[in-house]
Amino acid sequence: MTLDDTDRAILNRMQDDLPLTAHPYAAIAQEIGIAESDLLARLTRMKDERVITRFGPFFDAAAMGGAFCLCAMAVPSQDFENVLTKVNAHPEVAHNYERTHRLNMWFVLATETPEGIAATAEAIERETGIAVLQFPKLQEFFIGFRVAA
């Protein structure tokens, strides 16, 4: 789909926090200078067209008492789809990307308890026979993902 300037303004604004008010979209529509119904229609269209993959709260598993961990595996190419099916079957796998490296599968585990990371990584190792390297964050230098539309 093609995005016009209004769509881009919406996309940039909606990457920042939505106000916690009864009619939050009306407040943002007013900021941008369009009608609430127009904002909702454009957001719905961008979500349907997958320009927006998700709209809603971003949860922090660690603040809930759980944990996040980036993990990587070196998956032989002939086994890739088979291993992928096994890895993605775990609901703890929140994101998964194929990357250009010997370590070619990179995924994030999000679990409700700190112990859940090791337990899930071990389960994946058992199911696939491939080592799961764990890269938990030690320090975060920037919070907030922004893409200029």
Binding site: A22, F55, F59, D60, L84, E98, W106, Q139
Partner: protein, 160 residues
């Protein structure tokens, strides 16, 4: 930490917030709560950091940012905090973390995600990072993503 009510709210919202004029009223209705209670619970979860923000996750591929490079660096431990802060502040770096090395396979301890319209643009940005790190960087690499294999975000498992 979260209690059972928070958990129900998270389960109701993990798929997203409805795009309707009164989204909190609609979600509250589905949970048998009133809108004010839901909103005060959400405000509380935000103050505790359980909710970072309520926002859109853009699909950078659909926005023409088709090259996505995870740049990785082996930086002296004593300088990683100072240099990581400088790298994280760059406008084109969307995530920046210090992570443990996994020797001997993986010597890198600083990760910075860079997006661009093509790989040339990502390489230009990567060179800017390299210039900042200078002699403190002993080894480097870049891993481009070639396929999104899953992108659902956090999902709580059903209890019981």
């Amino acid at each position: 930490m979260i209690d059972e009510k928070d958990r129900e709210i998270i389960e109701a919202l993990q798929g997203g917030l409805p795009l309707v004029p009164a989204p909190f009223a609609q979600v509250a209705d589905g949970l048998g709560l009133d809108e004010k209670t839901l909103m005060s619970r959400l405000a509380d979860m935000k103050s505790r950091g359980v909710i970072r923000r309520i926002a859109a996750a853009p699909n950078h591929y659909k926005l023409g940012m088709t090259s996505n490079g995870m740049t990785v660096w082996d930086v002296e431990d004593g300088r990683v905090a100072e240099l990581g802060s400088q790298i994280g502040a760059l406008p084109f770096v969307t995530h920046c973390y210090e992570r443990p090395r996994a020797l001997p396979d993986w010597p890198y301890n600083l990760f910075a995600m860079v997006h661009g319209a093509d790989r040339d643009e990502v390489e230009e940005k990567r060179a800017e990072i390299a210039a900042i790190l200078g002699d403190a960087c002993r080894a480097k690499d870049i891993l481009y993503s070639t396929r999104i294999l899953k992108k659902t975000g956090l999902r709580l498992k059903k209890k019981g």
